[in-house]
Amino acid sequence: MALLNRMDWYDIARTTNWTPKYVKESELYPDEMCGSMGIPMEKWEVYDEPYKQTYPEYVKVQREKDAGAYSVKAALERSRIFENADPGWLSVMKAHYGAIARGEYGAASAEARMMRFSKAPGMRNMATLGCMDEIRHSQMQLYFPHEYVSKDRQFDWAHKAYDTNEWAMIASRHFFDDMMLTRDAISVSIMLTFAFETGFTNMQFLGLAADAAEAGDFTFSSLISSIQTDESRHAQIGGPVLQILIDNGKKAEAQRQIDISFWRAWKLFSVLTGPIMDYYTPLEHRKQSFKEFMEEWIVAQFERSINDLGLDKPWYWDQFLHDLNIQHHGMHLGVWFWRPTVWWNPAAGVTPAERDWLEQKYPGWNDTWGQCWDVIIDNLVEGNLAKTYPETLPVVCNMCNLPINFTPGKGWAVKDYPLEYKGRLYHFGSEPDRWCFEQEPERYAGHLSLVDRFLAGQIQPPNLAGALAYMGLAPGEIGDDAHGYSWIEIYKQMRMKKAS
């Protein structure tokens, strides 16, 4: 039997919009789920997916991808990454799996919403494949770390993290729930597939793959770069949607959704991806700095694609470029300082050689962030470990749910961006964070940050032990310095040399 060329039947097979007989169109496609902004059905039917894939092709290609990733894993089982890798690298994996694996199931649900409620048939097809992609991502990223669970309980957080109220998880969930689980199909296509997947996922799945390959972890490198080949296809769902919105006078709304998602993704990546690239990954294995990866993926590639669609840079673009130099250093310092409250062991990453690297990549680092680390290092050298732990809570932003932090040193200009809404005072770490809230206050108003919960008496007893219990951190899971403070030896030697 001769097979028809795909292009000879694709358009006909895709024509799956028909006139409903037993229900009204508005019942088949309720607006809360569709979000079609009043644009009529026939305008959605011009949607033409740029990256076409049929179901038989999909099955064949995905099978090949899975065979590749699993066979690399099997072949390298003996390389004993867990035993041989630097502890900082293990922390990279722990943070990655916990923050991401279960979120992929959330993404499957978001794709399923587009699959059912998109008015464009081509979009439904793409989302069907996208949904299966995301199930694959979750399953693989739960399966791969599973072999380490018996060796190290922190790896159990690949599965456990999403069910806890651990603070980084609250932040992560707040973002992903906002973008994926509580938006209509059109908003999902813009905020998740376009803004997040053509942009930020490249940082975590390709930028990090480059570091993984340098670190000799080819299993992880192969896994995450393979996952990104799915993203590369289904991330294209959003592009034609943006075109339809622009053509139908909805450019401002499209832009607004991109601006919200982009800023929120940036904040999450400043705590997740920034520290692992610039501090946890062993110095000799860093392919590029976090800022350089951001320049490659987000500025040069993603922002250029926004421009080509006829959209504008997010309104806070200059601030974003400025914050690329600083924000993640503060996040890293905070994560290390509050290290008992995370499910991985943060690597300090501040030996003299690492500081030289930081100074070179981020001129002025020693005069700012370095000054805070100097105090921590002094305390560690003198054996005052207790002084390197926090005694208070940070102020947490009511949008990103991350500690509000600014550059220390001479230029210290800490600022709260408050907002009173219906009698409650909210705090934000930046103007764009507050702006996100103001776009749709009711969406966010009821949420309590971890600190809000603490002050409301929800965390008992109100001390570190109570907080750890609330966050689900059991003994053996509580974070500590990745290298057991062994890196402080070089500073001790330097002091002894100076003294003698």
Partner: protein, 104 residues
């Protein structure tokens, strides 16, 4: 690929695939050169991935990839190693095209 000035890093016309490293990526580099005569093809090797790009438009033909691989190749099999790409994409059974609508 990083520049001296991040503020203008988006002022580029780069288009092309970002491939996972391997024999397919090598064949794509050759195909990019053959199928886009007269254009400079840049390759940024990041070990795990290779960014292969040129300005404004890049075409990759199935036949050229097939010849460079030395085995039959279906255009949509590119996806196995196509991790990302710069510019827009247009996929067909015999060629794939990366492009931008606006030159800046």
């Amino acid at each position: 690929m990083t520049t001296k000035n991040i503020a203008t890093a988006d002022m580029n016309n780069r288009v092309g695939p970002v491939m996972r490293a391997g024999e397919l990526a090598d064949a794509i580099i050759e195909a990019a050169r053959e199928d886009n005569p007269g254009k400079e093809i840049r390759v940024d090797d990041k070990r795990a991935y290779l960014r292969i790009d040129t300005d404004d438009e890049m075409i990759l033909r199935r036949e050229t990839i097939e010849r460079n691989l030395g085995r039959p190749f279906k255009m949509n099999d590119l996806e196995v190693d196509l991790s990302s790409f710069a510019g827009r994409i247009e996929t067909g059974p015999d060629q794939i095209r990366f492009y931008l609508l606006k030159h800046i």
